[in-house]
Amino acid sequence: MSLDLVVNVVIAGLLTGLVYGLMALGLSVIFGVVRVVNFAHGEMMTIAMYAATVLFAALKLDPFLALVPVAAAFFVFGYAMQAGLINPFITRPEHSQFMLLVAVAIIMVNALLMIFGPDARNVQVDYQLESFEIGRILIDKARLYSALVAIAAAAALFAFFKFTLTGKAIRACADNYLGAKVVGLNVKKYYSLTFGLGSACVAVAGCAMVLLVDVTPPLGPYYTLLAFVIVIVGGLGSMTGALLGGVLIGVSEALAGLFIAPSAKSMFSFGLLILVLLLRPQGLLGKKQ
Protein backbone atom coordinates (compact mmCIF):
# COMPACT_ATOMS: atom_id res chain seq x y z
CA MET A 1 0.00 0.00 0.00
CA SER A 2 1.85 3.03 -1.20
CA LEU A 3 1.51 6.48 0.21
CA ASP A 4 0.57 7.75 -3.22
CA LEU A 5 -2.42 5.44 -3.32
CA VAL A 6 -3.58 6.56 0.11
CA VAL A 7 -3.17 10.23 -0.80
CA ASN A 8 -5.09 9.76 -4.03
CA VAL A 9 -7.85 7.93 -2.24
CA VAL A 10 -8.08 10.63 0.42
CA ILE A 11 -8.27 13.36 -2.18
CA ALA A 12 -10.94 11.47 -4.10
CA GLY A 13 -12.85 11.00 -0.86
CA LEU A 14 -12.53 14.68 -0.05
CA LEU A 15 -13.88 15.75 -3.42
CA THR A 16 -16.75 13.29 -3.32
CA GLY A 17 -17.32 14.40 0.25
CA LEU A 18 -17.90 17.94 -0.92
CA VAL A 19 -20.72 16.75 -3.12
CA TYR A 20 -22.10 14.76 -0.20
CA GLY A 21 -21.77 17.96 1.78
CA LEU A 22 -23.90 19.88 -0.67
CA MET A 23 -26.55 17.21 -0.48
CA ALA A 24 -26.45 17.34 3.31
CA LEU A 25 -26.50 21.13 3.18
CA GLY A 26 -29.91 20.93 1.58
CA LEU A 27 -31.10 18.70 4.40
CA SER A 28 -29.56 20.90 7.06
CA VAL A 29 -31.25 23.97 5.66
CA ILE A 30 -34.60 22.22 5.52
CA PHE A 31 -34.33 20.76 8.98
CA GLY A 32 -32.75 23.81 10.50
CA VAL A 33 -35.52 26.11 9.31
CA VAL A 34 -38.66 24.12 8.75
CA ARG A 35 -37.83 21.52 11.40
CA VAL A 36 -39.04 18.81 9.08
CA VAL A 37 -37.09 15.59 8.93
CA ASN A 38 -36.92 15.12 5.20
CA PHE A 39 -36.82 11.38 5.00
CA ALA A 40 -37.14 11.60 1.23
CA HIS A 41 -33.93 13.56 0.82
CA GLY A 42 -31.86 10.77 -0.67
CA GLU A 43 -34.70 9.80 -2.95
CA MET A 44 -34.83 13.34 -4.26
CA MET A 45 -31.10 13.19 -4.91
CA THR A 46 -31.61 9.97 -6.83
CA ILE A 47 -34.39 11.52 -8.88
CA ALA A 48 -32.05 14.37 -9.79
CA MET A 49 -29.44 11.85 -10.86
CA TYR A 50 -31.95 10.05 -13.06
CA ALA A 51 -33.09 13.38 -14.49
CA ALA A 52 -29.51 14.11 -15.47
CA THR A 53 -29.19 10.73 -17.19
CA VAL A 54 -32.41 11.30 -19.09
CA LEU A 55 -31.34 14.76 -20.23
CA PHE A 56 -27.99 13.39 -21.24
CA ALA A 57 -29.48 10.49 -23.17
CA ALA A 58 -32.03 12.66 -24.92
CA LEU A 59 -30.14 15.91 -25.49
CA LYS A 60 -26.49 14.99 -24.89
CA LEU A 61 -26.65 17.63 -22.19
CA ASP A 62 -23.65 17.69 -19.87
CA PRO A 63 -24.83 17.26 -16.28
CA PHE A 64 -23.18 20.51 -15.29
CA LEU A 65 -25.46 22.26 -17.75
CA ALA A 66 -28.43 20.08 -16.97
CA LEU A 67 -28.23 21.14 -13.36
CA VAL A 68 -29.76 24.50 -14.20
CA PRO A 69 -33.14 23.23 -15.41
CA VAL A 70 -33.09 20.37 -12.94
CA ALA A 71 -32.39 22.68 -10.00
CA ALA A 72 -35.12 25.03 -11.15
CA ALA A 73 -37.58 22.18 -11.47
CA PHE A 74 -36.62 20.86 -8.04
CA PHE A 75 -37.05 24.28 -6.51
CA VAL A 76 -40.58 24.40 -7.77
CA PHE A 77 -41.22 20.83 -6.69
CA GLY A 78 -39.82 21.44 -3.21
CA TYR A 79 -41.82 24.61 -2.82
CA ALA A 80 -44.98 22.82 -3.90
CA MET A 81 -44.36 19.89 -1.60
CA GLN A 82 -43.90 22.09 1.44
CA ALA A 83 -46.82 24.33 0.54
CA GLY A 84 -49.20 21.58 -0.41
CA LEU A 85 -48.22 18.63 1.68
CA ILE A 86 -46.30 19.66 4.74
CA ASN A 87 -47.46 23.15 5.71
CA PRO A 88 -51.05 22.07 6.23
CA PHE A 89 -49.81 19.48 8.72
CA ILE A 90 -47.38 21.63 10.61
CA THR A 91 -49.29 21.36 13.85
CA ARG A 92 -49.28 17.61 13.82
CA PRO A 93 -47.04 15.67 16.16
CA GLU A 94 -43.48 15.15 15.04
CA HIS A 95 -43.68 11.51 14.11
CA SER A 96 -46.71 12.22 11.98
CA GLN A 97 -44.73 14.58 9.75
CA PHE A 98 -41.93 12.07 9.67
CA MET A 99 -44.28 9.35 8.43
CA LEU A 100 -45.56 11.69 5.75
CA LEU A 101 -42.10 11.93 4.28
CA VAL A 102 -41.45 8.24 4.77
CA ALA A 103 -44.51 7.65 2.60
CA VAL A 104 -43.27 10.13 -0.01
CA ALA A 105 -39.88 8.41 0.01
CA ILE A 106 -41.46 4.98 -0.55
CA ILE A 107 -43.48 6.33 -3.45
CA MET A 108 -40.43 8.00 -4.98
CA VAL A 109 -38.09 5.05 -4.77
CA ASN A 110 -40.56 2.60 -6.18
CA ALA A 111 -41.78 4.96 -8.85
CA LEU A 112 -38.18 5.16 -10.00
CA LEU A 113 -38.03 1.39 -9.95
CA MET A 114 -41.17 1.22 -12.04
CA ILE A 115 -40.00 3.78 -14.57
CA PHE A 116 -36.34 2.96 -14.90
CA GLY A 117 -36.03 -0.62 -13.71
CA PRO A 118 -33.38 -1.97 -11.38
CA ASP A 119 -30.42 -1.72 -13.72
CA ALA A 120 -27.75 0.88 -13.20
CA ARG A 121 -27.68 3.98 -15.33
CA ASN A 122 -25.01 6.52 -15.82
CA VAL A 123 -23.68 9.35 -17.85
CA GLN A 124 -20.64 9.02 -20.09
CA VAL A 125 -18.81 12.24 -20.85
CA ASP A 126 -15.38 12.58 -22.41
CA TYR A 127 -13.56 14.04 -19.48
CA GLN A 128 -14.78 11.39 -17.06
CA LEU A 129 -11.76 9.21 -17.70
CA GLU A 130 -9.22 12.03 -17.62
CA SER A 131 -7.30 13.27 -14.65
CA PHE A 132 -5.06 16.13 -13.66
CA GLU A 133 -1.56 15.19 -12.63
CA ILE A 134 0.14 17.19 -9.91
CA GLY A 135 3.41 15.48 -9.25
CA ARG A 136 2.51 11.93 -8.34
CA ILE A 137 -1.04 12.87 -7.35
CA LEU A 138 -3.88 12.08 -9.72
CA ILE A 139 -7.11 14.02 -9.49
CA ASP A 140 -10.09 12.91 -11.58
CA LYS A 141 -11.31 15.79 -13.70
CA ALA A 142 -14.94 14.88 -13.22
CA ARG A 143 -14.50 14.63 -9.48
CA LEU A 144 -12.76 17.98 -9.28
CA TYR A 145 -15.41 19.72 -11.37
CA SER A 146 -18.15 18.18 -9.27
CA ALA A 147 -16.49 19.36 -6.09
CA LEU A 148 -16.05 22.87 -7.50
CA VAL A 149 -19.71 23.01 -8.47
CA ALA A 150 -20.61 21.86 -4.96
CA ILE A 151 -18.48 24.59 -3.42
CA ALA A 152 -19.94 27.21 -5.73
CA ALA A 153 -23.49 26.18 -4.93
CA ALA A 154 -22.74 26.15 -1.21
CA ALA A 155 -21.15 29.57 -1.42
CA ALA A 156 -24.17 30.90 -3.26
CA LEU A 157 -26.40 29.56 -0.53
CA PHE A 158 -24.24 31.04 2.21
CA ALA A 159 -24.33 34.40 0.47
CA PHE A 160 -28.06 34.22 0.06
CA PHE A 161 -28.63 33.64 3.74
CA LYS A 162 -26.13 36.20 4.86
CA PHE A 163 -26.73 39.10 2.54
CA THR A 164 -30.21 39.03 1.09
CA LEU A 165 -33.31 40.24 2.85
CA THR A 166 -35.19 37.03 2.08
CA GLY A 167 -32.34 35.00 3.46
CA LYS A 168 -32.38 36.94 6.69
CA ALA A 169 -36.11 36.58 6.92
CA ILE A 170 -35.76 32.83 6.61
CA ARG A 171 -33.16 32.80 9.35
CA ALA A 172 -35.55 34.77 11.52
CA CYS A 173 -38.26 32.20 10.98
CA ALA A 174 -35.84 29.49 11.95
CA ASP A 175 -34.70 31.24 15.09
CA ASN A 176 -38.08 32.21 16.41
CA TYR A 177 -41.26 31.04 14.72
CA LEU A 178 -43.62 33.03 16.86
CA GLY A 179 -41.48 36.12 16.85
CA ALA A 180 -41.26 36.03 13.09
CA LYS A 181 -45.00 35.81 12.78
CA VAL A 182 -45.44 38.65 15.21
CA VAL A 183 -43.35 40.96 13.07
CA GLY A 184 -45.46 40.08 10.08
CA LEU A 185 -43.35 37.53 8.25
CA ASN A 186 -45.34 35.05 6.21
CA VAL A 187 -43.64 32.10 7.80
CA LYS A 188 -45.37 29.44 5.74
CA LYS A 189 -44.25 31.08 2.54
CA TYR A 190 -40.68 31.18 3.80
CA TYR A 191 -40.89 27.54 4.78
CA SER A 192 -41.92 26.69 1.26
CA LEU A 193 -39.10 28.83 -0.11
CA THR A 194 -36.63 27.05 2.13
CA PHE A 195 -37.78 23.62 1.12
CA GLY A 196 -37.48 24.76 -2.48
CA LEU A 197 -33.92 25.93 -1.87
CA GLY A 198 -32.98 22.74 -0.08
CA SER A 199 -34.40 20.75 -2.97
CA ALA A 200 -32.46 22.81 -5.48
CA CYS A 201 -29.27 22.02 -3.51
CA VAL A 202 -30.04 18.35 -3.73
CA ALA A 203 -30.65 18.70 -7.46
CA VAL A 204 -27.26 20.29 -8.04
CA ALA A 205 -25.61 17.65 -5.87
CA GLY A 206 -27.36 14.92 -7.83
CA CYS A 207 -26.27 16.27 -11.19
CA ALA A 208 -22.72 16.50 -9.89
CA MET A 209 -22.85 13.02 -8.38
CA VAL A 210 -24.08 11.29 -11.52
CA LEU A 211 -20.66 11.75 -13.07
CA LEU A 212 -19.06 9.86 -10.22
CA VAL A 213 -21.48 7.06 -9.48
CA ASP A 214 -23.95 4.85 -11.33
CA VAL A 215 -27.51 5.41 -10.27
CA THR A 216 -29.97 2.72 -9.16
CA PRO A 217 -33.20 3.12 -7.19
CA PRO A 218 -31.77 1.73 -3.90
CA LEU A 219 -29.38 4.69 -3.80
CA GLY A 220 -32.34 6.70 -2.55
CA PRO A 221 -32.63 5.30 0.98
CA TYR A 222 -28.86 4.96 1.15
CA TYR A 223 -28.33 8.65 0.46
CA THR A 224 -31.09 9.61 2.86
CA LEU A 225 -29.32 7.85 5.67
CA LEU A 226 -25.98 9.21 4.56
CA ALA A 227 -27.36 12.74 4.54
CA PHE A 228 -28.61 12.28 8.07
CA VAL A 229 -25.31 10.86 9.22
CA ILE A 230 -23.52 13.85 7.76
CA VAL A 231 -25.92 16.40 9.15
CA ILE A 232 -25.88 14.86 12.61
CA VAL A 233 -22.13 14.43 12.64
CA GLY A 234 -21.56 17.92 11.35
CA GLY A 235 -24.22 19.47 13.49
CA LEU A 236 -27.84 20.15 12.77
CA GLY A 237 -28.53 23.66 11.64
CA SER A 238 -24.89 24.40 10.90
CA MET A 239 -24.21 24.94 7.23
CA THR A 240 -20.45 24.69 7.59
CA GLY A 241 -21.03 21.60 9.67
CA ALA A 242 -22.86 19.94 6.79
CA LEU A 243 -19.97 20.54 4.42
CA LEU A 244 -17.42 19.52 6.98
CA GLY A 245 -19.42 16.42 7.83
CA GLY A 246 -19.68 15.58 4.16
CA VAL A 247 -15.94 15.77 3.70
CA LEU A 248 -15.39 13.72 6.84
CA ILE A 249 -17.73 11.01 5.66
CA GLY A 250 -16.35 11.10 2.14
CA VAL A 251 -12.78 10.65 3.32
CA SER A 252 -13.57 8.02 5.95
CA GLU A 253 -15.67 6.05 3.51
CA ALA A 254 -12.86 6.14 0.99
CA LEU A 255 -10.31 5.01 3.56
CA ALA A 256 -12.61 2.33 4.93
CA GLY A 257 -13.13 1.09 1.40
CA LEU A 258 -9.36 0.95 0.92
CA PHE A 259 -8.32 -0.62 4.19
CA ILE A 260 -11.26 -2.78 5.17
CA ALA A 261 -13.53 -3.79 2.33
CA PRO A 262 -15.52 -1.74 -0.16
CA SER A 263 -18.79 -3.15 1.05
CA ALA A 264 -18.02 -2.19 4.63
CA LYS A 265 -17.83 1.49 3.79
CA SER A 266 -21.29 2.40 4.91
CA MET A 267 -20.99 0.30 8.03
CA PHE A 268 -18.40 2.76 9.16
CA SER A 269 -20.75 5.67 8.54
CA PHE A 270 -23.50 4.08 10.60
CA GLY A 271 -21.10 3.29 13.38
CA LEU A 272 -20.06 6.92 13.35
CA LEU A 273 -23.69 8.02 13.49
CA ILE A 274 -24.32 5.87 16.53
CA LEU A 275 -21.25 7.28 18.26
CA VAL A 276 -22.15 10.87 17.49
CA LEU A 277 -25.77 10.45 18.57
CA LEU A 278 -24.56 9.16 21.87
CA LEU A 279 -21.57 11.31 22.64
CA ARG A 280 -22.22 14.63 21.00
CA PRO A 281 -25.72 14.79 19.60
CA GLN A 282 -25.30 18.38 18.62
CA GLY A 283 -22.61 17.30 16.20
CA LEU A 284 -19.23 18.87 15.66
CA LEU A 285 -20.37 22.39 14.93
CA GLY A 286 -23.97 22.41 16.02
CA LYS A 287 -25.40 24.33 18.90
CA LYS A 288 -26.49 22.45 22.01
CA GLN A 289 -30.27 22.59 22.32
Partner: protein, 322 residues
Protein backbone atom coordinates in the same frame (compact mmCIF):
# COMPACT_ATOMS: atom_id res chain seq x y z
CA UNK B 1 -70.52 -9.64 26.93
CA UNK B 2 -69.86 -6.30 25.27
CA UNK B 3 -70.28 -5.71 21.57
CA UNK B 4 -66.52 -5.69 21.17
CA UNK B 5 -66.21 -9.00 22.94
CA UNK B 6 -68.82 -10.62 20.73
CA UNK B 7 -67.16 -9.21 17.64
CA UNK B 8 -63.85 -10.60 18.80
CA UNK B 9 -65.23 -14.06 19.48
CA UNK B 10 -66.89 -14.09 16.08
CA UNK B 11 -63.69 -13.04 14.35
CA UNK B 12 -61.63 -15.68 16.11
CA UNK B 13 -64.12 -18.39 15.23
CA UNK B 14 -64.05 -17.24 11.63
CA UNK B 15 -60.28 -17.34 11.54
CA UNK B 16 -60.13 -20.79 13.09
CA UNK B 17 -62.63 -22.12 10.58
CA UNK B 18 -61.12 -20.24 7.65
CA UNK B 19 -58.91 -23.03 6.23
CA UNK B 20 -61.96 -25.22 5.75
CA UNK B 21 -63.17 -23.12 2.87
CA UNK B 22 -59.96 -21.47 1.67
CA UNK B 23 -57.73 -22.58 -1.15
CA UNK B 24 -53.93 -22.80 -0.80
CA UNK B 25 -53.31 -19.28 -2.17
CA UNK B 26 -55.85 -17.72 0.18
CA UNK B 27 -54.31 -19.66 3.04
CA UNK B 28 -50.84 -18.33 2.29
CA UNK B 29 -52.19 -14.77 2.05
CA UNK B 30 -53.98 -15.23 5.36
CA UNK B 31 -50.78 -16.53 6.95
CA UNK B 32 -48.95 -13.48 5.68
CA UNK B 33 -51.62 -11.16 7.07
CA UNK B 34 -51.35 -12.83 10.46
CA UNK B 35 -47.57 -12.58 10.31
CA UNK B 36 -47.76 -8.83 9.80
CA UNK B 37 -50.54 -8.52 12.35
CA UNK B 38 -48.42 -10.27 14.97
CA UNK B 39 -45.19 -8.43 14.16
CA UNK B 40 -47.03 -5.15 13.99
CA UNK B 41 -48.50 -5.82 17.41
CA UNK B 42 -45.01 -6.52 18.73
CA UNK B 43 -43.78 -3.21 17.32
CA UNK B 44 -46.86 -1.53 18.73
CA UNK B 45 -45.69 -2.36 22.25
CA UNK B 46 -42.70 -0.11 21.82
CA UNK B 47 -44.45 2.69 19.96
CA UNK B 48 -48.05 2.60 21.01
CA UNK B 49 -47.36 1.78 24.62
CA UNK B 50 -44.07 3.45 25.40
CA UNK B 51 -44.04 6.05 22.68
CA UNK B 52 -40.69 5.15 21.16
CA UNK B 53 -40.63 5.14 17.36
CA UNK B 54 -38.53 2.28 16.07
CA UNK B 55 -37.78 2.18 12.37
CA UNK B 56 -35.24 -0.60 12.72
CA UNK B 57 -37.41 -3.46 13.89
CA UNK B 58 -36.15 -5.66 11.07
CA UNK B 59 -33.10 -6.03 13.33
CA UNK B 60 -35.04 -8.27 15.71
CA UNK B 61 -36.69 -10.29 12.96
CA UNK B 62 -33.30 -10.87 11.38
CA UNK B 63 -31.41 -11.69 14.55
CA UNK B 64 -34.20 -14.00 15.67
CA UNK B 65 -34.32 -15.73 12.31
CA UNK B 66 -30.58 -16.18 12.06
CA UNK B 67 -30.22 -17.32 15.66
CA UNK B 68 -32.74 -20.12 15.32
CA UNK B 69 -31.72 -20.76 11.74
CA UNK B 70 -28.02 -21.09 12.55
CA UNK B 71 -28.69 -23.54 15.37
CA UNK B 72 -30.74 -25.67 13.01
CA UNK B 73 -28.37 -25.31 10.06
CA UNK B 74 -25.13 -26.04 11.89
CA UNK B 75 -26.25 -28.30 14.72
CA UNK B 76 -29.64 -29.62 13.74
CA UNK B 77 -31.16 -28.08 16.87
CA UNK B 78 -34.88 -27.55 16.55
CA UNK B 79 -36.74 -24.26 16.67
CA UNK B 80 -38.05 -24.63 20.23
CA UNK B 81 -34.52 -24.33 21.57
CA UNK B 82 -33.60 -21.83 18.91
CA UNK B 83 -36.51 -19.71 20.10
CA UNK B 84 -34.86 -19.12 23.46
CA UNK B 85 -31.57 -18.13 21.92
CA UNK B 86 -33.40 -15.84 19.51
CA UNK B 87 -35.30 -14.15 22.32
CA UNK B 88 -32.24 -13.78 24.49
CA UNK B 89 -30.19 -12.21 21.70
CA UNK B 90 -32.96 -9.88 20.61
CA UNK B 91 -33.65 -8.74 24.15
CA UNK B 92 -29.93 -8.09 24.56
CA UNK B 93 -29.84 -6.01 21.38
CA UNK B 94 -32.96 -4.16 22.40
CA UNK B 95 -31.61 -3.40 25.84
CA UNK B 96 -28.37 -2.10 24.39
CA UNK B 97 -30.20 0.20 22.00
CA UNK B 98 -32.59 1.25 24.72
CA UNK B 99 -29.83 1.89 27.21
CA UNK B 100 -27.81 3.93 24.76
CA UNK B 101 -30.84 5.91 23.71
CA UNK B 102 -32.46 6.54 27.05
CA UNK B 103 -29.31 7.14 29.08
CA UNK B 104 -28.24 9.76 26.60
CA UNK B 105 -31.67 11.28 26.27
CA UNK B 106 -32.21 10.37 22.65
CA UNK B 107 -35.84 10.37 21.65
CA UNK B 108 -38.22 11.12 18.83
CA UNK B 109 -36.68 11.31 15.40
CA UNK B 110 -33.15 10.82 16.73
CA UNK B 111 -34.21 7.56 18.34
CA UNK B 112 -35.75 6.45 15.06
CA UNK B 113 -32.50 7.25 13.27
CA UNK B 114 -30.56 5.35 15.89
CA UNK B 115 -32.69 2.27 15.33
CA UNK B 116 -32.22 2.56 11.58
CA UNK B 117 -28.46 2.88 12.02
CA UNK B 118 -28.33 -0.27 14.15
CA UNK B 119 -30.36 -2.27 11.64
CA UNK B 120 -28.25 -1.08 8.73
CA UNK B 121 -25.03 -1.72 10.63
CA UNK B 122 -26.19 -5.25 11.36
CA UNK B 123 -27.30 -5.82 7.78
CA UNK B 124 -23.91 -4.99 6.41
CA UNK B 125 -22.22 -6.86 9.24
CA UNK B 126 -24.13 -10.07 8.55
CA UNK B 127 -23.17 -9.80 4.89
CA UNK B 128 -19.62 -10.40 6.06
CA UNK B 129 -20.33 -13.29 8.42
CA UNK B 130 -19.60 -16.38 6.38
CA UNK B 131 -20.55 -18.67 9.20
CA UNK B 132 -24.07 -17.41 8.72
CA UNK B 133 -23.94 -17.76 4.97
CA UNK B 134 -22.84 -14.25 4.12
CA UNK B 135 -24.54 -12.43 1.28
CA UNK B 136 -25.29 -15.71 -0.46
CA UNK B 137 -27.73 -16.59 2.25
CA UNK B 138 -28.51 -19.42 4.61
CA UNK B 139 -30.77 -22.23 3.46
CA UNK B 140 -32.57 -24.46 5.91
CA UNK B 141 -33.26 -28.02 4.96
CA UNK B 142 -36.94 -28.87 4.76
CA UNK B 143 -37.45 -32.50 5.76
CA UNK B 144 -41.09 -32.77 4.78
CA UNK B 145 -44.24 -30.79 4.16
CA UNK B 146 -46.93 -33.35 4.85
CA UNK B 147 -47.09 -34.33 8.46
CA UNK B 148 -47.43 -31.96 11.37
CA UNK B 149 -44.06 -32.08 13.14
CA UNK B 150 -44.29 -29.40 15.76
CA UNK B 151 -40.95 -30.33 17.31
CA UNK B 152 -39.12 -29.29 14.17
CA UNK B 153 -41.81 -26.91 13.01
CA UNK B 154 -42.21 -28.74 9.73
CA UNK B 155 -45.48 -29.57 8.07
CA UNK B 156 -48.19 -28.47 5.67
CA UNK B 157 -49.09 -24.81 5.18
CA UNK B 158 -52.07 -25.40 7.45
CA UNK B 159 -49.76 -25.88 10.39
CA UNK B 160 -48.03 -22.58 9.77
CA UNK B 161 -51.37 -20.83 9.45
CA UNK B 162 -52.56 -22.10 12.83
CA UNK B 163 -49.21 -21.36 14.42
CA UNK B 164 -49.40 -17.77 13.24
CA UNK B 165 -53.05 -17.51 14.27
CA UNK B 166 -52.12 -18.77 17.71
CA UNK B 167 -49.32 -16.21 17.98
CA UNK B 168 -51.56 -13.37 16.84
CA UNK B 169 -54.29 -14.24 19.30
CA UNK B 170 -51.75 -14.71 22.08
CA UNK B 171 -50.16 -11.33 21.32
CA UNK B 172 -53.56 -9.69 21.28
CA UNK B 173 -54.47 -11.17 24.65
CA UNK B 174 -51.09 -10.28 26.11
CA UNK B 175 -51.47 -6.66 25.04
CA UNK B 176 -55.06 -6.60 26.20
CA UNK B 177 -54.12 -7.61 29.72
CA UNK B 178 -50.99 -5.50 29.76
CA UNK B 179 -52.94 -2.37 28.85
CA UNK B 180 -55.15 -2.87 31.86
CA UNK B 181 -52.30 -3.60 34.21
CA UNK B 182 -50.00 -1.28 36.10
CA UNK B 183 -47.49 -1.65 33.25
CA UNK B 184 -50.06 -0.48 30.76
CA UNK B 185 -50.98 2.57 32.79
CA UNK B 186 -47.36 3.47 33.39
CA UNK B 187 -46.41 3.04 29.73
CA UNK B 188 -49.27 5.19 28.58
CA UNK B 189 -48.35 7.82 31.12
CA UNK B 190 -44.78 7.85 29.82
CA UNK B 191 -46.06 8.09 26.27
CA UNK B 192 -48.38 10.97 27.09
CA UNK B 193 -46.01 13.03 29.20
CA UNK B 194 -42.77 11.64 30.50
CA UNK B 195 -42.03 14.51 32.89
CA UNK B 196 -45.40 14.23 34.58
CA UNK B 197 -44.96 10.48 34.81
CA UNK B 198 -41.67 10.90 36.65
CA UNK B 199 -43.27 13.27 39.11
CA UNK B 200 -45.71 10.48 39.96
CA UNK B 201 -42.92 8.15 40.98
CA UNK B 202 -42.43 6.29 37.71
CA UNK B 203 -38.84 5.33 36.91
CA UNK B 204 -39.32 6.06 33.24
CA UNK B 205 -35.93 4.69 32.20
CA UNK B 206 -36.69 1.27 33.63
CA UNK B 207 -40.16 1.11 32.15
CA UNK B 208 -39.03 2.22 28.71
CA UNK B 209 -36.36 -0.47 28.79
CA UNK B 210 -39.02 -3.01 29.70
CA UNK B 211 -41.12 -1.98 26.71
CA UNK B 212 -38.15 -2.25 24.39
CA UNK B 213 -37.20 -5.65 25.79
CA UNK B 214 -40.74 -7.01 25.46
CA UNK B 215 -41.12 -5.67 21.94
CA UNK B 216 -37.78 -7.16 20.92
CA UNK B 217 -38.62 -10.53 22.47
CA UNK B 218 -41.99 -10.69 20.73
CA UNK B 219 -40.47 -9.70 17.41
CA UNK B 220 -37.79 -12.36 17.72
CA UNK B 221 -40.54 -14.97 17.55
CA UNK B 222 -41.52 -13.53 14.17
CA UNK B 223 -37.96 -14.09 13.10
CA UNK B 224 -37.99 -17.70 14.16
CA UNK B 225 -41.24 -18.23 12.29
CA UNK B 226 -39.78 -16.50 9.25
CA UNK B 227 -36.74 -18.77 9.27
CA UNK B 228 -38.73 -21.98 9.37
CA UNK B 229 -41.45 -20.81 7.02
CA UNK B 230 -39.38 -19.34 4.21
CA UNK B 231 -36.28 -21.41 4.90
CA UNK B 232 -33.90 -19.01 3.21
CA UNK B 233 -32.30 -16.03 4.90
CA UNK B 234 -30.40 -13.21 3.23
CA UNK B 235 -29.02 -10.27 5.21
CA UNK B 236 -29.82 -7.87 2.36
CA UNK B 237 -33.41 -8.93 2.51
CA UNK B 238 -34.26 -9.61 6.12
CA UNK B 239 -32.50 -6.61 7.68
CA UNK B 240 -33.45 -4.19 4.94
CA UNK B 241 -35.17 -0.98 5.90
CA UNK B 242 -38.12 -1.95 3.68
CA UNK B 243 -38.85 -4.79 6.10
CA UNK B 244 -38.85 -2.33 8.98
CA UNK B 245 -41.27 -0.11 7.11
CA UNK B 246 -43.52 -3.05 6.22
CA UNK B 247 -43.70 -3.88 9.92
CA UNK B 248 -44.96 -0.43 10.88
CA UNK B 249 -47.43 -0.07 8.01
CA UNK B 250 -50.01 -2.31 9.65
CA UNK B 251 -50.12 -0.48 12.99
CA UNK B 252 -49.83 2.99 11.47
CA UNK B 253 -52.65 2.36 9.03
CA UNK B 254 -54.76 0.45 11.50
CA UNK B 255 -54.08 2.65 14.51
CA UNK B 256 -50.97 2.98 16.63
CA UNK B 257 -51.49 2.16 20.27
CA UNK B 258 -54.77 0.37 19.71
CA UNK B 259 -55.19 -3.36 20.13
CA UNK B 260 -56.97 -4.02 16.89
CA UNK B 261 -55.05 -1.53 14.78
CA UNK B 262 -52.16 -3.78 13.75
CA UNK B 263 -54.49 -6.61 12.81
CA UNK B 264 -56.87 -4.44 10.85
CA UNK B 265 -54.05 -2.56 9.18
CA UNK B 266 -52.25 -5.74 8.17
CA UNK B 267 -55.45 -7.16 6.71
CA UNK B 268 -56.41 -4.04 4.81
CA UNK B 269 -52.92 -3.51 3.46
CA UNK B 270 -52.25 -7.09 2.36
CA UNK B 271 -55.66 -7.63 0.84
CA UNK B 272 -55.69 -4.35 -1.02
CA UNK B 273 -52.14 -4.67 -2.26
CA UNK B 274 -52.65 -8.25 -3.40
CA UNK B 275 -55.89 -7.23 -5.01
CA UNK B 276 -54.22 -4.41 -6.87
CA UNK B 277 -51.27 -6.52 -7.96
CA UNK B 278 -53.65 -9.19 -9.28
CA UNK B 279 -55.74 -6.59 -11.04
CA UNK B 280 -52.71 -5.08 -12.69
CA UNK B 281 -51.36 -8.48 -13.65
CA UNK B 282 -54.70 -9.26 -15.24
CA UNK B 283 -54.38 -6.04 -17.20
CA UNK B 284 -50.93 -7.08 -18.27
CA UNK B 285 -49.00 -4.65 -16.08
CA UNK B 286 -46.51 -6.56 -14.00
CA UNK B 287 -44.09 -3.93 -12.95
CA UNK B 288 -41.66 -4.37 -10.06
CA UNK B 289 -42.17 -1.71 -7.46
CA UNK B 290 -45.84 -1.10 -8.09
CA UNK B 291 -46.88 -2.80 -4.90
CA UNK B 292 -44.59 -0.60 -2.84
CA UNK B 293 -45.83 2.54 -4.55
CA UNK B 294 -49.26 1.46 -3.51
CA UNK B 295 -48.08 0.99 0.09
CA UNK B 296 -46.64 4.46 -0.02
CA UNK B 297 -49.83 6.02 -1.30
CA UNK B 298 -51.96 4.27 1.31
CA UNK B 299 -49.55 5.32 4.05
CA UNK B 300 -49.62 8.90 2.78
CA UNK B 301 -53.39 8.96 2.67
CA UNK B 302 -53.71 7.54 6.16
CA UNK B 303 -51.16 9.90 7.67
CA UNK B 304 -52.81 12.87 6.03
CA UNK B 305 -56.47 12.11 6.56
CA UNK B 306 -56.72 9.49 9.28
CA UNK B 307 -53.81 10.27 11.56
CA UNK B 308 -55.09 7.96 14.25
CA UNK B 309 -55.50 5.10 11.82
CA UNK B 310 -58.50 3.30 10.47
CA UNK B 311 -59.49 1.40 13.59
CA UNK B 312 -60.72 4.33 15.75
CA UNK B 313 -63.09 5.45 13.00
CA UNK B 314 -64.24 1.91 12.33
CA UNK B 315 -64.78 1.09 15.97
CA UNK B 316 -66.89 4.16 16.44
CA UNK B 317 -69.04 3.12 13.52
CA UNK B 318 -69.44 -0.35 14.93
CA UNK B 319 -70.39 1.07 18.30
CA UNK B 320 -67.53 -0.26 20.36
CA UNK B 321 -66.38 1.80 23.30
CA UNK B 322 -62.63 1.51 22.90
Amino acid sequence: MSRAGIGLAALTTLLVAFPAFAGPYALSVATLILYFAYTGQAWNVMMGFAGQLSLGHSLYVGVGAYAAGALFFHYGIGPWVGLWLAMALCVAFGLVIGFLAFRFGISGVYFALLTIAFAEFTRIGFDHLDWLGGPGGMFLRVAQRDVWDLANFRGPPLMYYYAMLFLTVAAFLLCFFLLRSKAGYYWQAIRENEEAAQALGINTFRWKMAAVALSAAMTSVSGVFFAFYYNNLFPEQIFHISRSIEIILGPVIGGVGTLFGPILGAAVLTLLSDGITDLLAALGWEIPGIKQVFYGIVLLAVVMFLPHGIWPAVSRRLGFHK
